[in-house]
Symmetry: C2
Subunit: 211 residues, 2 copies
DNA sequence: GCTATAATCGAACCAGCATTTGATTATTTT
DNA sequence: AAAATAATCAAATGCTGGTTCGATTATAGC
């Protein structure tokens, strides 16, 4: 080891956070390595000491964002509340997470295509594809947390019988979209938005008079 | 006029449709003018006879997609049904539209950033900005159709009192997202998906036992 | 103090791609 | 058939931006 990873030195995570930020503003292709580097007072060349390529950097951004979201949601699973209350907490947690970090939230929506399209050359290719597939698997897992939660609620008789897969995707679409339009300092706080949306979906899932 | 716009000649609309298709597969930046041209058996240079620049072509794609969607929705407004049934029709129409033309649907989600980021140079700048702003205005108008519909339903006492703006965005987020994950030949048809999602939101809006 | 190595930079490389230019071919109008 | 113009292309231009290379500087371990 050499050169302390403190002081003048920038950590991998610093770069990832900076990248997410620039990415949010400009999108993947419009973001240059120079832009990202400037954000942490480095030159573009220096970034290659930390990441194999721009693609790998994007992947790292998405991985961190997703793992953070997964971690938040997994925490809510341990509570002892009803399925309805648990789902409400999941939805609110997710949306608040998106509004608190729109950089990662927006990346999750917009940069997906860039990830799919990335074609690393030569030797790095294998590792990249492997990690990308792993990322998609995690993404599916994330979705499954919500789907299973709905399923469980149906089984337990708390929710009416719906197509859990579709309702899940409707929910996640709504959540992701928040990252696109949400602006800090708007009419409603992230918490307020989260509460309204959670209410929207829970009201839909609970048994109503008409049934 | 010269050179018939039939036969060997390609129409502006042909190019737009081709562009939407390539765009959907690759995303704006990864799509080259050559790619689009190839799709209609032209060279990249030829495209400049029909469009001032790549940015203008993207704009044309988005405009067409949006106007189509608006037109579909506006048709449903004239019906004489209850607000609930009207909204159901709007939702289903929109989602089916997205699934029937995922190219435009996905563009509406993914290429928005490219549009915002576009910086045309010199003379074309003014016209571009103007048209782009007009596009955003139309986009707001599209959103307002749903929002007003919800409002009207609340006023009429058909829907419970919700924050129409937020619920609208939840809905549109869900709809847009369909364009991202929907695959032809999947478990459910576009109609089926549309019905489930419409049901999800309408159930949420109608008065339920708990209230 | 050496030595290995981490972290960084400046400069160069090079490929891809939007766009321009100038010519060519087809089609319509008169 | 001549003139005007629409539609097209091949080739050249020029720039942007990812990536590589070699050198330099700082730090940790011995």
């Amino acid at each position: 080891m050499a050169r302390k990873p403190a002081d003048q030195s920038v950590s991998k995570d610093d770069i990832i956070i900076a990248a997410a930020d620039v990415l949010k503003r400009n999108g993947y292709d419009a973001t240059t390595m120079k832009d990202i580097a400037a954000q942490v007072n480095l030159t573009a060349a220096s970034l290659y000491h930390h990441f194999k390529s721009k693609d790998f950097l994007l992947l790292a951004v998405l991985e961190i964002g997703l793992e953070h979201a997964i971690q938040l949601i997994e925490q809510t699973l341990h509570s002892n509340q009803s399925y309805a209350e648990k789902l409400r907490e999941m939805i609110e947690t997710h949306i608040i997470g998106v509004t608190e970090n729109t950089a990662f939230g927006a990346a999750m929506v917009f940069e997906m295509k860039a990830l799919i399209n990335a074609r690393p050359n030569g030797d790095k290719e294998d590792e990249f594809i492997q990690r990308r597939d792993a990322f998609f698997a995690r993404r599916d897992y994330f979705e499954s947390l919500f789907r299973r939660s709905i399923h469980a609620g149906i089984e337990a008789g708390e929710f009416r019988s719906v197509d859990a897969a579709i309702v899940t995707r409707a929910m996640l679409g709504a959540h992701n979209w928040v990252g696109v339009w949400y602006k800090d300092g708007g009419r409603l706080s992230g918490e307020a938005i989260a509460a309204i949306m959670a209410d929207t979906f829970l009201t839909s899932l609970k048994y109503s008079a008409e049934d």
